[in-house]
Assembly symmetry: C2
Homo-oligomer: 524 residues x 2
């Protein structure tokens, strides 16, 4: 990925006329444009590591795998949140990791972490670099410097067990690389978050990622049988040979979501599936978001079994109707809320799940919109983040945030977030919402906001973001459903897990990382 874009310049495309029309409406007379700064012209923080440190790192991983090259540091300096991308356009000097190292195996990582513990050098793990919550910002905390440990060489597949449906994947594999390796065995993982093209297996685990097929295949944390974690105190395998166990607490669930503060995940043993025989698609329209939520809830609680089920609110549905580029949806039916369903499996399985789901959605007030909108969504689903770069060029804010709550609280929480964003941006805003992850007891709510930038866009965004986070916690939502905590949501973790919860996590960190080198300033 390019440092200041989602993806690469090759993926870029101009804004469609309909989006431009929408933008003109939102931005009004505001024609602020903040140009991109080419990589070579970005000022980075000076390298704080001395020659002896760089030599020592090279001794551990080999000279070829240590670098303090400008572009390499630049690419690992920020994730892909709106403020991250804004930083590259507006900040005079970007704090970057002092060096980038790419170890080969667990033993090299252990040696790195032990050296860094002695030398008080902070470590940030780098997978795909797609964090949107400040998860890879190179904070050194109380350490003298910070290195980025790039996991790209952990790219293998091991121990394929076709009978049990288990494989072990290297933490550095990107989503597509992992699926390509699995395909050779007739298998798939089925984990398709929007970050899929770039994000890594290790990152999915470290942040409790959730993909768009989660109704069928579960969240990433539910797919993980075991992990290998290298901590400054040693190498450990977390999770064992059994699909379930009563042998004490489930320590996997401590490492999942630990965002690099205990150690580095190097391998993940995962549940996989045969490539499905067939896929079936159908979209439905509901008169209101409330009616749609009730219908999606019924589907989930009855267990009718869709692989994908999504529901856009009135605003998002309307935008999608006029903008086929935006998320790729169209509909015959103007107005209302669009609900997309998809079914995978054997022919019989997909057919029976489709029929049962369809019957229930129609009974709950839905109107069929045919296959088209779902197929278009599927084709375009990884393209949406690319549009953000063009929107930023045009002087717009474009950002997403997400939460989750009980079904009974979903409409209240949505209202609270829409109000907090609307009141605190200070510019006209388009605020869209959808439900994309469902559970028997509740659902996620995903918000996309497009607005005009003020003259102080950083302050503008953080004011709105903080008000929204406070509104989310006050309205009973979780601070993140699948983006994670990073630096951005850290102030809300006390509210989320309580003082004793923080104490529990801190105690584990102290036990595994006594020097405090692992990703300081993140999570807790």
């Amino acid at each position: 990925m390019t440092h200041n874009l989602w993806g690469t310049p090759q993926e870029e495309k101009p804004l469609s006329p309909s989006i431009q029309k929408m933008l003109t409406k939102i931005l009004g007379k505001n024609t602020r444009q903040v140009p991109r700064i080419p990589a070579a012209k970005v000022q980075l923080s000076p390298v704080r590591l001395k020659g002896e440190h760089l030599d020592a790192l090279a001794q551990i991983v080999g000279t070829k795998y240590v670098t303090w090259d400008h572009e390499q540091r630049l690419r690992r300096a920020r994730g892909k949140s709106y403020p991250d991308l804004l930083d590259f356009r507006t900040t005079a000097q970007i704090d970057a990791p002092d060096a980038v190292v790419a170890p080969r195996d667990e033993e090299e990582i252990l040696a790195l972490l032990q050296y860094c513990s002695r030398m008080r050098i902070a470590v940030v793990t780098f997978g795909g670099g797609t964090s949107v919550v400040g998860g890879i910002t190179p904070k050194s905390g109380e350490m003298q410097a910070v290195i980025s440990v790039d996991m790209c060489r952990f790219d293998g597949i091991e121990d394929v067990d076709q009978v049990s449906g288990l494989v072990t994947l290297g933490a550095g594999l990107s989503g597509p690389a992992a699926e390509m390796l699995l395909r050779e065995h007739g298998l798939q993982l089925g984990h398709f978050p929007q970050s899929f093209p770039y994000a890594s297996i290790g990152g999915f685990a470290a942040t409790r990622s959730s993909g768009q097929n989660s109704a069928g295949y579960g969240r990433f944390d539910e797919m993980v049988r075991a992990l290998t974690l290298v901590t400054p105190q040693g190498i450990m395998r977390v999770g064992g040979g059994a699909p379930a166990s009563a042998a004490g607490p489930d320590l996997r669930q401590l490492v999942l979501g630990s965002e690099g503060i205990f150690g580095i995940i190097t391998k993940v043993r995962l549940r996989v599936h045969p490539i499905p025989q067939t896929k079936r698609y159908e979209a439905f329209s509901f008169p209101t978001f409330k009616a749609g939520v009730a219908a999606v809830r019924a589907v989930t609680q009855h267990g009718t079994g869709p692989t994908v089920i999504r529901l856009s609110d009135e605003v998002e549905s309307a935008v999608n109707l006029t903008s086929t580029d935006k998320i790729g949806q169209t509909s015959k039916n103007e107005g209302g809320c669009l609900c997309l369903t998809m079914f995978e499996g054997t022919y019989e399985h997909a057919e029976s799940r489709h029929r049962e789901t369809r019957d229930l959605l129609l009974k709950m007030g839905g109107t069929s919109q045919g296959e088209g909108p779902v197929r278009k969504w599927e084709q375009g689903r990884f393209g949406a983040p690319v549009l953000r770069d063009a929107l930023l060029d045009a002087g717009a804010i474009c950002e997403t945030l997400e939460t989750a709550t009980d079904w009974a609280n979903a409409l209240h929480l949505r209202q609270a977030v829409v109000e907090a964003l609307g009141k605190n941006l200070g510019t006209p805003a388009l605020i869209m919402c959808h439900v994309s992850h469902v559970y028997p007891t509740g659902c996620s709510l995903y918000f996309t906001v497009v607005a005009g930038q003020s003259d102080n866009p950083h302050d503008q965004w953080w004011k709105a973001k903080e008000a929204t986070c406070s509104a989310i916690t006050a309205a009973g939502g979780t601070i993140s459903h699948h983006h994670g905590v990073g630096t951005d949501h850290r102030p809300y973790m006390g509210t989320e897990v309580g003082d004793l919860g923080i104490k529990m996590v801190a105690a584990v960190k102290e036990a595994l990382d006594p020097a405090g080198i692992m990703n300081p300033g993140k999570l807790i």
Copy 2:
């Protein structure tokens, strides 16, 4: 429950002629009989708490709720494993808790734990008293005494959310009491382990219980949305308002399975379901266990959706065929392995899941045995443990143990356990096995052993148990699928989670229970 029986004397029934015939065959000339000792004649360890301590406890919970009465201590001195029950027939002096207290609310528990921390008094939490792994043995460790905290007053239902399908239940509620409260709201939990009649909501959570309907409703740990935990450091709510979250590690999964070593679970917020419209039943017979395992695996991996699916091996199937009392199964088909299926939900849902499952089981070599065996199993399923008391009277060992592993390893693991038990008991043994919990990647294996007692039955059992536990870990199984760790499996936790895993759990314990009073000598 009576101290030295499963259940109450009213539940007892004589051994059927077929079981007596089987026993004669197993026991041979061995006619050793170890009589029961009535409660009043059991010698208990002397009470070590002084008057001032008992007064202080009474000040916290009220005089009525502190006792050191012989029978009350006796009932909380052991769980319900075979060695526990043997203890009551053979051990000269039983170590019992020095007092039993029954607090009313979280504040009283906090005061108790703070007092006990200061006075160095160990605490064992008592729910239903059904542990079969030494989970409630009153070990005082380095403390001067030990009290049993009985959770019977935590018996309420709160915050019923019909929309989201969530309720909060008191930790002291037994399985039937919980289901009765839920029934008033048209709801059910669907958690039916064999300990259901006596075990408690808090115990289910503390030990990662799994019920016989786990294929449909999941393990108990999967039903838990949130818990209230009182630790010596304070009261905490673990788990929040969302069905899923990426806000750091999932701390619920640290408390689930913690077996009382961090604190006392007082309330559990749980996913519940509407009472199903219908149930459908069908049994199948497979020529071999191998063929049956392949079929059950196919059902699980295809997600055809049974609520219950169980498979007995050849020995268990044969015993069940000749002994309708034993587990309540009969079959038209002599020989082979019996597979039971049950389907719950709406009429359409149960019918489609039944049809899909049935088609697959028939395709995989099964022969339908009709509804009868499943209905009989359902009627008799909580009765089996009662038979153990009569078997002990007759001088037999009767015990169960369980593990879980990948599908690819299931047959190998079963063989390893059967061999370890068979070789190490020193008496002829009947060893039965079934699969009762299934997952996409693997299954549980549950073993029932009936054998003759030697002259030193404690040593005889522990030799066989230790050999079996070693065989389980060597063969890649987990040391417990749903019974838990307690004292019995504690020696195997290092193998299960590794030194760093033990260190993680110990760090959390140190943070929440710095005096080390909570259930010493258990889990780690």
